[in-house]
Symmetry: C2
Subunit: 248 residues, 2 copies
């Protein structure tokens, strides 16, 4: 296995990571100096909503085990990380909870993030901040999402100096069930907020919207997501591959 | 995505596939001409015992979905296959059942194999054929395993001419819980039977025992398997990567 130097920390500059490697040639800007360096015994935490939760057993408390990971992109990404970085003995948690919006992450952040002391924190949140304004009468806006998300990230880097951040782009795949024309361009504002915050907080940014748009050139959108929001198994792998490109 | 020619069928010669690509440099004989060619709309079926079952929802009947796959090597391998071969639209089933020995596969073979008309059939069976002689008073021997397994394979290729076979080596990782010195060399006979049958039936052979032995150079055996038989999430990825090397 390749040995890497962990002596110098990378300078993080809000890098945009390339698309899922097998499906598409990367077309977005990759700044490899800003990729995540996984170090010995690092704690990796996945946070988010149902896409991250993916039916995990919420009573499962043991990191690195399947029941904690659910059956979405997290189990696929975690499996790959545990294998590729076996020498580093990572400790991986999934604490995504279905239905969450950004303010709900904030409500449980001490227990489900800070206290776990992650060295690498991956967040994918935002689709419900928009979707629930349509489906459940939620009163938030993109501005509220931005304000709440920035406060959450500020709280995080204050409590966890040196944490390496991964921010996933909220995505919605048009013309699949739940996602119709009425989502756009309003939903694009939420995508832009996540991207802006990734730059502000020197996070690696995973452009899931583009990942899905490229993938539908190879198979219909419904092959990758059954409702436009939640990934199929094929879509979960698509996301996992894109996510893994965050690592050097 | 790379386009492959599916005009000529590969000559199968009981190839031995290399070890998990990320962990080790391949050291075993790889005959790439004998690898599996996945064709448009191929049906891929995973069969086996608890290692394959891995807690899948046995009521789940929809191929290519997470509930059917469980949380072991199958979900990781299936995700990768659905992604890598999206253009081919594979249909993937998992019908592994915990506790099965080879004669129990035979009992349910019409329903859980033949009727699904797989083009690619992956079988991992044998650890219980040995283990249950120690733990449950099962009276089988390696000779019975060989006889039953050969009959099952003969029945399969008769009913499904042209099926491409993958045979996984039964493995047991010593010094982890269930697996102690008393397993060897008796258990090695079962490994040898699987390898012999792979050659007889022109199957691709996945040498899981060697995959695990190489992996323990990178992390303790208990990192890869909690009891010496069932894979951890890291071990599941190890197996999935080795399995995926069966494909051209």
């Amino acid at each position: 296995m390749e040995r890497r130097s962990f002596l110098k920390k990378a300078a993080f500059t809000g890098a945009v990571i390339g698309l899922s490697d097998n499906i598409v040639a990367a077309t977005v800007n990759i700044r490899s100096s800003a990729k995540i360096k996984l170090r010995e015994n690092d704690v990796v935490l996945f946070q988010g909503d149902s896409i991250t939760d993916a039916g995990r057993d919420r009573k499962a408390s043991t990191p690195n085990t399947s029941p904690m990971m659910g059956s979405g992109y997290v189990i696929l990404a975690a499996g790959a990380l545990l294998h590729q970085y076996a020498d580093k003995r990572p400790t991986i948690y999934n604490k995504g909870i279905s239905g969450n919006k950004v303010f709900q992450l904030n409500d449980r952040w001490d227990t489900d993030c800070i206290n776990l002391k992650p060295n690498v924190l991956s967040i994918l949140i935002g689709v419900n901040d928009f979707w629930h304004t349509k489906s459940s009468g939620y009163g938030g806006t993109a501005a509220v999402y931005e304000k709440d998300y920035r406060a959450l990230l500020q709280r995080t880097v204050t409590a966890l100096p040196g944490v390496q951040l991964i921010i996933g782009e909220p995505y919605a795949v048009k013309d699949v069930k739940a996602v119709d024309d009425s989502w756009f361009p309003a939903f694009d504002e939420y995508r832009a907020v996540a991207r802006k915050l990734a730059v502000e907080f020197n996070a690696v940014f995973i452009p899931y919207q583009k990942v899905y748009e490229e993938a539908r050139k190879h198979a219909p959108a419904s092959y990758w997501t059954h409702d436009g929001v939640h990934a199929s198994l094929a879509g979960a792998q698509l996301m996992a591959r894109a996510w893994l490109q965050a690592f050097a």
